[in-house]
Amino acid sequence: MRIKVNGQESELADGTDIHSILAAHQLTPDKVAVELNRRLVRSDKYDTKLKEGDQLEIVPFVGGG
């Protein structure tokens, strides 16, 4: 299935969940927040399986004023 992760198109196996994507990018779930189709996903729902056309945003804190 094709999904977008942080604005970039990605081809992933059907049924990939959010946990797997974080792991694939070596990201610590505690240091990022996740949005699926413009809605916040809490960490207890990181087992949500993604679908064709889904848009995922994975965001940490960065420096800012």
Binding site: D30, A33, I58, P60, F61, V62, G65
Partner: protein, 272 residues
Amino acid sequence: MNPLRIAKFEIHSPLIVGTGKYASYEIMQQALEASGCQVVTVAVRRERLIDKQGRSILDFLDLTKYIILPNTAGCFTAEDAIRVALLGRDLLEKQKNPGANWVKLEVLGDKKTLLPDPVGSLEATRELVKEGFNVLCYTSDDPIAARRIKEAGAASVMPAGSPIGSGQGILNPLNISLCLETLKEGDANYPVIVDAGVGTASDVAIAMELGADGVLLNTGIAHAKDPVKMAGGMRMAIEAGRLSFESGRIAKKRYATASSPFDGIISYIPGE
């Protein structure tokens, strides 16, 4: 100094410092330390999935010492600001940092000036207050806009001294003073924090002398030639300004009044 009280927080330093634009995380750490601040702002941005250096800003902030205040910088619509605020809260909850329910709200109107969008700011304040946030809202120095934002339930109103990062200081002290007057009418402890445009230590002192409860700045420290020294100067300035405000300064007079007595004078006074 009395602590700065915002929502349930008692903050020991009225100086809030941003974590952006430093030449390195190490310099950022030293500058924050020199500033004596307790609250630091951070932004929320996409993780770089390629070329990840593996360093997180959280690795460089001692969370036993600092309280994180996430911002919604770079948001030009209320909807985006609300999304970012929710993401920031989720991140804070994961860190168990005490600030989990607060946000520095910015809804910008224009890329060039980064001036706030008054309508978007108001909408986002209302919505975020409903979501249980303590909203610290960045706004212009227009006293009416400031009042509306307070009425919408903001925990603190943060009028800009001048455009973000411009270093122009407090361009309209009258308006800041009018903001303070309207926001603190019948509510002397309502926190008002001057945010944006602070360029140097005297700007911080001026803000405090006008009666602000705190000052928020980032570029003025991060882009100074010596950020750590400037941060130290800002720390002194915030105290100097607060003491000066509390001391009841002398009035400005048109003419001179001598500091030494005229009685017993031995010199010739012209005209006498």
